[in-house]
Symmetry: C2
Subunit: 320 residues, 2 copies
């Protein structure tokens, strides 16, 4: 690979001049610019990103850290979020370094990332990475509420509690008095937030929501989201009485629909179904059409990215 020195030598100018031609940070005469560009092209020279980053102390890369789910695959929600993040960062010339590597806590194998900022999706409880990036002076934005809640941290999240409460009110308003809630994985903060929100809606009417009316997803027990909905409905339909079921996602609802068809349950006459997240954007295509809450994961990603961009801009004068 040709370096900036090769070009400078060939053209007969200093490397500082060549540098300026490419970075456009200082005016260079038209004539010199053309000569430099011509030689650069001939030599196949492209500025070395790493060297430039070292000198400027900016990589124009943002890290996006995702938890590795059991099956190592991304949900629709995550995808949309990533999309939002990338879309927003791209506007300012930023790229995304995706990673799902588990963080080993061996300090010798941990290397500072080549990033100007980090977006951390679904942080673990008391996530050690948060402090680490703080220590390194790298701006960080969380997607999902941090636990324990730290006021000095920036994060974006949906108000899942309020959302679930809203859905609860809606169903109660329709006359439903007993529901089945097919919640997401138990140990996620969303899961408890939603349960709390739904309980609040019931409490407002002086009603209680028993624990056995809330089920939790588990990859081991059900295999996949649709299977979860299918099995849960078949299992519960005889045991409990309810006129509405709230599902985690549209995929879960798809399973519920199938079970309902097999059990001869008429939707929506006999049973109402509502999904808290239109994850796979299936709601419109289902028959009868599914009522689903739109979470706008992409918007979440966009907001997270904007927030990060602001923070990185402020941090700018980190000129040692």
């Amino acid at each position: 690979m040709a370096t900036i020195d090769d070009v400078a030598k060939a053209v007969g100018v200093s490397k500082g001049t060549v540098s300026s031609v490419f970075s456009k940070k200082r005016p260079i005469s038209q004539e010199v610019t053309e000569r430099v560009l011509a030689v650069a092209k001939e030599l196949g020279y492209y500025p070395n990103h790493v060297a430039r980053s070292l000198a400027t102390r900016k990589t124009m890369i943002a890290g996006l850290k995702m938890p590795i789910s059991r099956d190592m695959s991304l949900s629709g929600f995550e995808i949309q979020m990533i999309n939002g993040v990338m879309k927003q960062l791209a506007k300012h010339g930023y790229r995304v370094l995706l990673d799902t590597l588990p963080e080993h806590d061996d300090p010798t194998s941990f290397s500072m990332d080549p990033v100007d900022g980090v977006i951390l999706l679904n942080p673990r409880k008391a996530d050690p990475r948060i402090d680490r990036y703080g220590q390194m002076g790298i701006p960080i934005v969380l997607v999902g509420r941090p636990d324990p809640d730290d006021r000095s941290l920036s994060y974006v999240d949906n108000d899942n509690e309020a959302l679930a409460c809203e859905v609860g009110r809606y169903l109660l308003g329709l006359g439903h008095r007993s529901v089945l809630f097919l919640n997401t994985i138990r140990d996620m903060t969303v899961a408890s937030d939603r349960a709390a929100g739904l309980r609040r809606a019931f409490a407002e009417r002086g009603l209680a929501l028993d624990d056995d009316r809330i089920a939790y997803y588990s990859h081991e027990a059900y295999g996949n989201a649709a299977a979860y909905g299918y099995s849960a409905l078949r299992e519960m339909w005889g045991r409990l009485s309810f006129t509405a079921v709230i599902t985690d996602t549209d995929r879960v609802a798809l399973g519920v629909y199938r079970a309902a068809r097999e059990l001869g349950i008429a939707i929506p006459d006999e049973l109402s179904v509502i999904a808290l997240n239109n994850d796979a954007t299936l709601a419109q295509e289902m028959e009868p059409q599914l009522t689903a809450v739109e979470l706008y994961a992409e918007t979440l990603g966009i907001e997270a990215a904007s927030l990060l961009m602001d923070m990185m801009a402020e941090y700018e004068p980190q000129q040692k």
Copy 2:
């Protein structure tokens, strides 16, 4: 941020020694190692990835370049592919630099990427990036057949022609003689490969497949995949006679199912439906269950990544 010099000075050893403690590339006595680690921890020192990359000429990052689709969102196929790529690269400590930035051809604004290798998804015809990376001496692997076909390029792809032919034979074997093919976007190489494969199956039986039996998706005309299936079936059902429809993906099939319900067409008695790609993994959940080809996009990603890893390993002795 503390640098390696700070640590070296504080411990009273040379930076080379500190470097060796962290990179583990040279033996350092137990005693010194401990002292260095202790001071590093105290100072909050973490090796600078960029500086290290500059010195070693390796970033441990692979670029993944994706085309930006009109709606800026990733299909299930792409997601699975990305998953495969990340999974495989992670095994060797590699990370993924995702990017969908359009490549401007302004040489001054093009900077060499901080990557050791590149995976290019769905290259454009005569993609200029291919040459560019070649020039820069960066290994590159394509996902999707390059056009024009260049024997010196590495790529992985499904044999879409054979696949479509197989599906055609299957339907013909079942007694179908006239089909409707809801193909993907016209100007993709997959689209023509599939059409050719299906035609071959028909030709084997001395049958022809008219052009009007192959429809092509377009974002503008249909909005989304399911709407494509829905509209296409409604539009064609009266005009043409066919006993089977081959769809691009399961989502398209979902739309076909809905239209069929509305038109009172019985699936599969009156109409068989088969999808060439179980994109959203909906096939199992549909009623009646959909027949769909599994493309194993993740496997494709894994293969692409393995190939790239091999190439990067060979390239190793690029010691200038």
